[in-house]
């Protein structure tokens, strides 16, 4: 294998990894913050994907504007759901949370099937995103490169927000020790609503950006739920950089394995996640929780 094909494989994996990162990062933070098992996160990503596709195909919005619209719409919807459905179950058992969010996933899947139909949605990329870009040493799909750049930019923005702002400090404090943060006067419930909406919005952006790579149909949440959860679990709860690296790792691995073992590539991902989680239940990049 020569260098340029190696790089092109790495880039392909990176692009998938970035989508995984953008979708999963919100899940990681909300799970770390409240310990809430939100299995409906993939459904939010799917809703975002549909919103983006719909805005582009029916209203003719440009791609970035459609993404922004998806972000806002899903963030708003998730905020309502959070207040109505999630909030009463913060102190409930894990089982109740699993039930609620699986139920929500089923309901959203069915609602989308009823409203839009069961078929796969096609994403028509704008002119400037389709085609190839010359990197000097190889030609590569423009869209994948854009996704990678967008993912890295988002990572940087989130990292800055997390490490350099007061709200970020509050979130970090609450993830590390919720009760202590609460006694110091941090309103964890409000913080949670905020991060929940932000995380769901990001999932929507991920769903929109990734629709072209992962495909988009009503079964999306169930198909990719395991992937999102693996990324979160491997990355460690509430660790943005952990999720970033875990997502890239899994994206590249998945890409490479699917090329070499088209029939059973995902088998190795599951096996790897199994071994990793057994060796380090707190995740590859997570700290042992207090």
């Amino acid at each position: 294998m020569d260098l340029s094909s190696l790089i092109s494989i790495l880039l392909g994996g990176m692009a998938a990894g970035m989508v995984l990162f953008i979708v999963s990062v919100g899940l990681s933070v909300t799970m770390g913050l409240m310990g809430f098992v939100n299995l409906a996160h993939g459904a939010f990503a799917m809703l975002g994907g549909y919103a983006v596709v719909f805005a582009m195909n029916h209203w003719g919005l440009p791609f970035p504007a459609a993404l922004a619209l998806g972000f806002v719409a899903v963030a708003a919807v998730s905020l309502v759901l959070e207040r109505l459905l999630y909030a009463p179950l913060y102190r409930a058992t894990e089982l109740d949370q699993v039930l609620l969010t699986i139920g929500l996933t089923f309901a959203i899947t069915a609602a989308v099937t009823l409203g839009v139909g069961p078929e796969t949605q096609t994403v028509v990329l704008p002119e400037w995103l389709s085609g190839q870009t010359d990197l000097g040493f190889l030609q590569y799909r423009t869209y994948s490169l854009v996704v990678i750049v967008a993912g890295c930019a988002l990572m940087l923005a989130l990292w800055l927000g997390f490490e350099r702002t007061r709200i970020g400090a509050r979130i970090r404090a609450a993830v590390d020790n919720r009760r202590m943060a609460q006694s110091m006067g941090v309103d964890v419930a409000r913080l949670f609503s905020l991060t929940f909406a932000l995380g769901s919005g990001l999932a929507a952006v991920g769903g929109g950006l990734g629709a072209e790579i992962l495909g988009l149909d009503p079964q999306y949440p169930l198909r990719y739920l395991a992937y999102f959860l693996i990324v979160v679990a491997v990355g460690g709860l509430g660790r943005i950089s952990g999720v970033f690296f875990a997502a890239i790792l899994i994206g590249i691995l998945d890409f490479v394995l699917k090329i070499n073992f088209p029939k059973g590539g995902t088998l190795f991902i599951y096996a790897l996640a199994l071994v990793l989680l057994l060796a380090r239940p707190q995740g590859l990049f997570g700290r042992r929780s207090a």
């Binding site: 894990e94 609620l100 699986i102 089923f106 059973g264 996640a273």
Partner: protein
């Protein structure tokens, strides 16, 4: 009545416990044309009952219970197809062994974790098996599964009834009863009592020196073996096995059945399976998508308002009625 006397009496059979079995026999004579459906209900009850042991009694939240159902189904399927071994009862025993061994092996490592990691690991185990079944097409039939399996006579005496499902129904009913006896005995034993203790207060059970992990692993293994029997029954009654026996859909489905009926109580699996399957039978064929929407919304409502399922609602009503009757004096 003192608490000790109550505890000592609670394993005794009550008169109404005969009713479900009488009803099942009555169904056999009343609806001879719907015995295929009846068999499906019995298999689902058994599967939900096995989940109740881990989820309801031991308090282990798992998303991967279908792994054992699938292990059982694939075991009898592959034995019949590749080894020509199609005697049903010994096939069930093999399925229970394979599923139980899978449960033991995965339980030994998985149950060291808890919370999100455990949830993920159960999901990963199931996904792993699903992928393995998909990959090993030479043995498992891959994506298409194994259609058109045929099974021999039960104990060499009763052949499977292709048209009316009579023998399948009675066979499933007898097995369900046997498995139910096992679960009932386990649950009311001191072992079952300590499982409940682990569910209710893990820390305290550790503190009093109970062998928490050993008990969890045993419960997980027994439950896996029972789920394997359910899966094997499914394969034998239907004559096919495919990847759907191993999916997240099935795991979530059986969880819904159990939760709907009420978990941590022996008869929840019965009520849940009958209610769910009857509704599904009527609605799902006509309006499959609306049915899924309804299931989702019901789950949301159950999680928020009715955590003890249908039986819990009946219990609450009975308490309410009792209070109303007892209050005016």
């Amino acid at each position: 009545m003192s608490a000790a006397a109550e505890l000592a009496r609670r394993h005794r059979w009550r008169w109404w416990e005969a009713l479900p079995w009488l009803a099942a026999l009555g169904y056999f004579f009343a609806f001879p044309n719907y015995l295929a459906f009846g068999t499906q209900v019995l298999v689902t009850i058994l599967f939900a009952l096995s989940l109740d042991l881990v989820l309801g009694y031991a308090g282990i939240v798992t998303l991967g219970h279908a792994a054992f159902f699938g292990a059982g189904a694939y075991t009898v399927g592959m034995m019949a197809l590749h080894l020509g071994w199609n005697e049903p009862l010994s096939g069930l025993a093999a399925a229970a062994l394979v599923a139980g061994a899978t449960g033991l092996a995965s339980g030994l490592v998985l149950l060291r974790t808890q919370g999100l990691a455990l949830l993920m690991l159960t999901l990963c185990t199931m996904a792993l098996l699903e992928q393995a079944a998909n990959m090993g097409a030479a043995w498992t039939g891959g994506f298409d599964g194994m259609p058109g399996l045929s099974f021999g006579r039960i104990l060499g005496l009763f052949g499977f009834d292709v048209l009316y499902y009579r023998s399948q129904y009675l066979y499933a009913l007898a097995l369900l009863f046997a498995c139910f006896l096992i679960v009932r005995t386990l649950v009311y034993s001191s072992f079952g009592q300590s499982l409940t203790g682990i569910r209710e207060n893990l820390l305290r059970m550790h503190a009093v020196g109970a062998p928490v992990r050993t008990r969890q692993v045993i419960a997980y293994t027994v439950s896996a073996a029972l789920a394997g029997v359910a899966g094997a029954l499914f394969a034998q009654a239907n004559g096919y096995v495919n990847l759907a026996v191993l999916g997240l859909d099935r795991s979530a489905g059986v969880m819904i059945v159990l939760i709907l009926g009420g978990y941590g109580r022996l008869y929840g699996a019965f009520v849940g399976a009958i209610a769910y399957m009857a509704l599904e039978h009527v609605l799902a064929t006509a309006y499959p998508t609306a049915w899924q929407l309804g299931v989702g919304l019901t789950l949301v409502a159950v999680a928020l308002f009715a955590r003890n399922g249908l039986i819990g609602i009946v219990d609450a009503l009975r308490r309410l009625a009792g209070r109303a009757a007892g209050s005016p004096r």
